[in-house]
Symmetry: C2
Subunit: 272 residues, 2 copies
């Protein structure tokens, strides 16, 4: 059953968000699998759900590295979660992207679900290297005899990107996707756009974002495909998306892509 954007049953007093007046031109976004890979790569801590001997769900804080997109855990069998994984390999991992938003549910998070495996041979070495790269302090205990490396083979993924943004991804789609090469390093560029190019952002919202009535706009994020915009209109505050002409490969291409967006938005306004 699809879970995205179904009616919540209006309690009558929630804020309403104005709809676009025209279709956005190029609102391409990262896929759920790409969003999930980006979030997984954004931190080294997560919460594991494992099963106790009674089959009860057990939530516990863990550190992890990544082997491709698969989380690599290093846990002691003296700890409850370590014994749980040794008894039943079913597991899932909730990863929350770091955020400065004061509303905790406005941020992005994922659940990666599957089964853990003990890597062997070359896989063990790769898993050990991946865990240590993400969790340097693990060098003090990774080789203790009670610690085990586990690789969570991801079978399905749930991504939540904040209010009303959520989707699922399959294990193969998640494995094939790449973390975003732009978003993690985009903070200073986003700050610069908001500080010095607010007029351009408003032009983009009017020309391409579906809000010809935008009076102002700010950028809330940038990734390989485009910009997230928060748009002020006489009808209220809305959120939209403007895509670059072509996806970009890294942070070094962001300036040219946004300059191009601003130029095209200005030209659209002049010919309108």
């Amino acid at each position: 059953m699809a879970e995205t954007l179904r009616d919540h049953g209006d309690p009558g007093d929630a804020p309403s968000v104005p709809a676009p007046l025209v279709e956005p031109t190029n609102p391409v976004r990262p896929s759920a699998a790409e969003e999930a890979r980006t979030i997984a790569a954004s931190t080294n801590t997560a919460t594991l759900a494992s099963l106790t001997a009674d089959g009860d769900p057990w939530a516990s804080y863990v550190t992890f590295g990544l082997l491709g997109g698969d989380p690599v855990l290093c846990v002691s069998h003296m700890a409850e979660h370590g014994r749980n994984l040794a008894t039943d390999p079913r597991a899932s991992l909730a990863v929350v992207a770091p955020t400065s938003d004061t509303d905790p549910l406005a941020g992005s998070r994922i659940t990666l679900a599957g089964r853990v495996e003990k890597p062997t041979g070359d896989d063990y070495d790769a898993a050990r290297t991946a865990h240590l790269a993400a969790v340097p302090a693990a060098r003090y205990y990774v080789d203790y005899s009670d610690f085990t490396l586990w690789v969570l083979r991801v079978e399905r993924v749930r991504w939540v990107g904040g209010y009303g943004r959520m989707d699922s991804a399959t294990g193969p789609d998640y494995a094939a996707a790449q973390p975003d090469p732009v978003a993690p390093a985009s903070g200073p560029a986003v700050d610069h756009l908001n500080a010095d190019h607010a007029d351009s952002l408003a032009s983009m919202a009017r020309a391409f974002g579906g809000f010809p009535d935008a009076t102002a706009a700010s950028c809330t994020g940038a990734d390989r495909y485009g910009l997230d915009l928060k748009v002020t209109t006489p009808r209220g505050v809305a959120y939209t998306r403007v895509g670059y002409t072509t996806p970009i490969d890294g942070i070094d291409d962001l300036r040219a892509a946004t300059v191009d967006l601003a130029r095209r938005a200005r030209e659209t306004a002049e010919t309108a």
Copy 2:
């Protein structure tokens, strides 16, 4: 089976921690139940472990308030975790205390395990109030028809206070305990102790902490019972504890309690 301080099986190259040379005088600490109540009260976000229809463990990010020590969740049945709880009430919640330590496993965290219940009547109103007090943004959706308030009735607790500090607590002990009235507000006082009273901290470590060979000490935490100290000795760096003469009721009593500790440590040194 007790899990505290069992041998990890030495891999040969881990740093060793020097033992106290004499018994610490008054190393009283908060109980595991008290530590858990303090951690639960320190934040409004956590990760829920619930069970899917297949009985698989499902980890998902949630917000929560507290009714006594019991977490109050507000989740949509459009979300997987909402459907999970409606189908099987077994659940646990991992809560991680905010920390600035660069080593994620040096911090404190808990698992609260039990079953969720839908509160009714006055309990519903209390649960709703508790959730909204902790999560103000929930006012926008708490009354949507697809959202349900759940109270996690805590049946058992696991606390991990960092490396080598861990214990369990029963549900009744957790319910009866109180969050620490000092620790959450103690940051500035701890900073002041370290900036201006390093000599006193070293005296406390020598006189009461079990490290007569301490050459320096810093305070890593303060609570209703005493101070956590990080101690430098010629044998290496160790951690210990010095308790106040009597427990204190709040942050306003912390200065007098530490002045008393410093005075008694000085007197002990003079008579030694």
